[in-house]
């Protein structure tokens, strides 16, 4: 199969470029990550990318394949148009080849205080939560922080330092939605900002690309609804 892969070596002084590879691989049942590993093992040791779980749960290997942000490890080779173009996730700085600088992305995640805030004394056993209340968290807590959504979002492209992006906002809402959390007001105060939240214009690229089939736009909509309700 034929591949065109984005290469950038920060030590070489050369500009980034696309390099072509011809790999002997049977696409049947194989994923883009299998091809990247095979290229690294047999054709070009210097090709650099992140990977860990190789089953779509750790979020290490978000890349752009033929124009779409995906996890390399769960994207089938079969059916991809050749040459298969693989680039780093858009808009973030490139450290090397397919490895992007995630610092900004993680900073936005930290900014939403992604942890439960509950100042009551802890009970002896678990806090109770009805299955219905717990179901409110489904579609939120499963986020793997791969960055596919945020880096596909035009609002993030325009204001990467100020707009928190879909992944961070999804996690922001994950704690707002948790009946055990007591900091809803504080969280809403932080998000009530022309940039942090309101740069989301409902373009929904995030929903389209999310490899876990989550819906950040819907979560953002629910935050906006809460802000409106609170203002009334």
């Amino acid at each position: 199969m034929r591949f065109r892969i984005y290469r950038y070596d920060p030590e070489s002084g050369n500009k980034p470029s696309m390099r072509d590879y011809e790999l002997d691989i049977d696409p049947q049942g194989r994923k883009v990550l299998d091809a990247l590993i095979a290229i690294k093992d047999t054709l070009d040791e210097s090709l650099s990318f992140r990977r860990s779980c190789r089953e779509g749960v750790c979020g290490s290997d978000g890349v752009n394949v033929n124009g779409a942000n995906v996890l390399a490890c769960i994207t089938p080779l079969e059916g991809l148009k050749e040459p298969i173009e693989i680039r780093p996730l858009p808009r973030l700085g490139v450290i090397r080849d397919l490895i992007v600088d995630m610092a900004q992305f993680y900073q936005h995640y930290r900014a939403v205080k992604p942890y439960l805030i509950n100042l009551d004394p802890e009970p002896e056993n678990e806090r109770l939560q009805s299955p219905e209340d717990r179901a409110e968290l489904d579609g939120l807590w499963e986020c793997i922080l791969c960055g596919c959504c945020t880096t596909s979002c035009p609002s993030f492209w325009w204001n990467p330092d100020k707009f928190l992006g879909p992944a961070a906002l999804l996690q922001g809402y994950r704690f707002i939605a948790d009946t055990r959390d007591q900091a809803t007001d504080e969280r809403l105060d932080f998000l009530e900002d022309p940039y942090r939240l309101f740069r989301c214009h409902g373009i929904m690229n995030c929903v389209e690309v999310c490899p876990k089939n989550l819906n950040p736009t819907q979560a953002i909509g629910k935050i906006k609804t809460l802000l409106v309700k609170r203002a009334l």
């Binding site: 070596d9 920060p10 030590e11 049942g29 690294k40 093992d41 047999t42 040791e45 210097s46 650099s48 990318f49 992140r50 990977r51 860990s52 779980c53 190789r54 089953e55 779509g56 749960v57 750790c58 979020g59 290490s60 769960i74 450290i95 090397r96 490895i99 995630m102 993680y106 930290r110 205080k113 992604p114 942890y115 439960l116 509950n118 802890e122 002896e124 056993n125 678990e126 806090r127 109770l128 939560q129 009805s130 299955p131 209340d133 717990r134 968290l137 807590w141 499963e142 793997i144 922080l145 704690f175 948790d178 055990r180 959390d181």
Partner: protein, 599 residues
């Protein structure tokens, strides 16, 4: 890193009270204990912490909460001792099971999104499901004991612990690869050397206490459920520091991995009512384990599947897998309780379990052995006097450690529990140790230099061997010679082959000598950790002439308590083996005497 402090050393140094190597569940839980005690703690991880392999844990964390079935920790302890085939240390197992419920409640209080029970007097409590090897009343009815967040419990646990560490302001060094322990002439561990991956800069991390939480090493095998990053880095560090590894012959082959790919299909699938079938459509587990059937212990189920495959009753064109069926559970339950499994099965086996069986085969999954430690997380080794002298300043927790609570076979759901119970215990002990040892000892320069020399070795311009080639050959040896069934001849041949692969290692060279984010160099360093682990495994397995738990010797099919109710200790120097007794005496309760193990 901006705050650079020059010492007489060639490399920059950072100083902390404690350094933790590894950002999975065990490392994060220990870090939290230390950070909340206002100690200066650094957590070094070769990946961003939520990429750690804990994230792949599926079915749950076991604790006798009694939310569904009548239960108490004594029964859980009995099951764990029995599951370990009596090789587990009963003091540590008591500690594990006694603290299980509070550990799970603590996670809930931290915010872990456990699934919840419906209706009745237990409405809203943590959801629990049946898991293999779990019984009520010391071997009676199936217990419903494993606490779950759908089938993504590891993800929920890892993210929750990472989030709490953000709140506690733990200092993270993400994408730093630990190279070596810094150990002085008196045996004190004074920190680690580590490579900053992005820049290629080596650093010295000085600390009065160091915790290894580097996870497992199933990447010694060709097919495994493990992430690419599970290369046993902490074990390599321990061996290079002259420390032994314990019980390395015991590796768990999970009954249900997806063939070739290796991805895990949780035991929770059988816990929810799934069952195994051979090509004749027979539910064969009732022949092997008449009572527990599909929920027998993992070693039992793995051997049963291997037997079916050998007898020509495997499915598919090559007859190399059996079927795991859950269609009868119905789409709704599958989507609610097993959404991750369905996703994996569709992505990697091309089968939607709502309508089709999942192909599964025994797959290397978990390392019961590891760095010898006690229930406070202290690394213990025969140094001067006894077999269990604490190595001052060094701790190990989680899969890289051998406490030993899993003995010869781990029960499902006990791994996540191990991480949090002993992560916390190690954190508490380190706090005491740091208080008692307030004065830092001088860093031995020569040790740091030795580590840098190891790194410089990969600058060698040319060689005849590649890292990927050697790794593949090593994995093939382990897959072919150290699987579910072993014999003396098979193991000896494997060891001879491994000798040959190892002999080629000095001829390996990289073609990429760049500094910044050089993943080829990382893979070389990882191979240097994997290779001695493969060796420790073969040597330990060859010596143990009995069958116990996951170690099945066809030439010695019986368990032999007179000779082998003891732990193996392997030292790299001359492949030396030593042994120490199993601790049969629990902390407070009566000993569970070894007896025949049936399910």
């Amino acid at each position: 890193m901006r705050t650079e402090m020059r010492t007489e050393m060639r490399i920059p140094k950072r100083t902390f009270d404690a350094v933790i190597v590894g950002g999975g569940g065990a490392g994060l839980r220990a870090a939290l204990q230390l950070a909340e005690a206002n100690l200066k703690v650094a957590l070094i991880s070769k990946v961003f912490p939520t990429r750690s392999h804990t994230v792949s844990a599926q079915g749950g964390i076991t604790a006798a909460l009694a939310n569904v079935s009548d239960d108490n920790w004594h029964w859980h302890m009995y099951d764990t001792v029995k599951g370990s085939d009596y090789l587990g240390d009963q003091d540590a197992i008591e500690y594990l099971c006694r603290n299980a419920a509070s550990a799970v409640y603590e996670l809930e209080h931290m915010g872990l999104p456990f699934s919840r029970l419906e209706g009745g007097k237990n409405a809203g409590k943590i959801y629990q499901r049946p898991f293999g090897g779990q019984s009520q009343n010391y071997g009676g009815e199936q217990a419903i004991r494993t606490c779950a967040a759908a089938d993504r419990t590891g993800h929920a646990l890892l993210h929750t612990l990472y989030q709490r560490n953000i709140a506690a302001r733990t200092q993270f060094f993400d994408e730093f690869f630990a190279l070596d322990l810094i150990r002085d002439a008196d045996g004190y561990v004074l920190g680690v050397t580590a490579l900053e991956i992005e820049t290629g800069q080596p650093w010295a991390f000085e600390s009065r206490a160091t915790l290894l939480a580097t996870g497992g090493a199933c990447r010694v095998f060709r097919h495994s459920t493990n992430a690419h990053i599970n290369t046993g880095d902490g074990l390599g560090m321990a061996l290079r520091a002259g420390l032994p590894l314990e019980d390395m012959e015991f590796w768990q082959f999970h009954p249900t991995g997806i063939p070739e790919v290796g991805s895990l299909i949780s035991e929770g699938v059988r816990g929810e009512g799934g069952f195994l079938e051979n090509k004749d459509g027979e539910k064969f587990m009732s022949r092997y384990a008449p009572n527990a059937r599909d929920l027998a212990s993992r070693d039992v189920v793995a051997r049963a599947i291997a037997q079916e495959l050998r007898a020509g009753r495997g499915c598919g064109p090559r007859g190399d897998y059996v079927h795991l069926k859950i269609e009868h559970l119905g789409a709704e339950k599958i989507k609610a309780r097993l959404p991750g499994i369905r996703e994996l099965s569709m992505q990697f086996a091309g089968a939607d379990p709502i309508t089709d069986p999942i192909p599964v085969t025994p797959t290397a999954h978990y390392m019961m052995g590891g760095i010898p430690s006690n229930m406070h997380g202290q690394v213990v080794a025969p140094i001067h006097t006894g077999p269990e002298e604490a190595v001052p300043g060094l701790y190990a927790v989680g899969e890289c450690a051998c406490v030993s609570v899993h003995g010869a076979n781990r029960l499902g759901g006990n791994s996540l529990l191990d991480l949090v119970v002993f992560g916390r215990a190690a954190g508490m002990h380190m706090i005491d140790y740091l208080r008692e040892n307030p004065i830092p000892r001088p860093l031995p320069q020569a040790e740091v230099e030795k580590s840098l020399g190891r790194l410089a070795r990969w600058d060698k311009p040319k060689g005849t061997e590649t890292v990927a080639g050697l790794r593949g050959d090593m994995q093939k040896v382990m897959q072919d010679h150290c699987g579910v069934y072993r014999t003396e001849a098979l193991l000896k041949e494997g060891l001879a082959k491994l000798d040959q692969v190892e002999a080629r290692l000095p001829d390996a060279a990289l073609s990429d000598h760049s500094r910044m984010f050089n993943t080829a160099r990382l893979e070389a360093l990882e191979l240097e950790n994997l290779m001695p682990i493969a060796r420790a495994t073969l040597v330990s397995a060859l010596a143990r002439t009995e069958s116990r738990g996951a170690h099945t010797r066809e030439d010695h099919p019986q368990r032999d308590d007179d000779q082998w109710l003891r732990h193996t200790l392997y030292f790299s120097e001359n492949d030396q083996l030593d042994y120490k007794p199993v601790k049969l005496k629990p902390l407070t309760v009566e000993t569970f005497q070894p007896k025949e193990r049936t399910y």
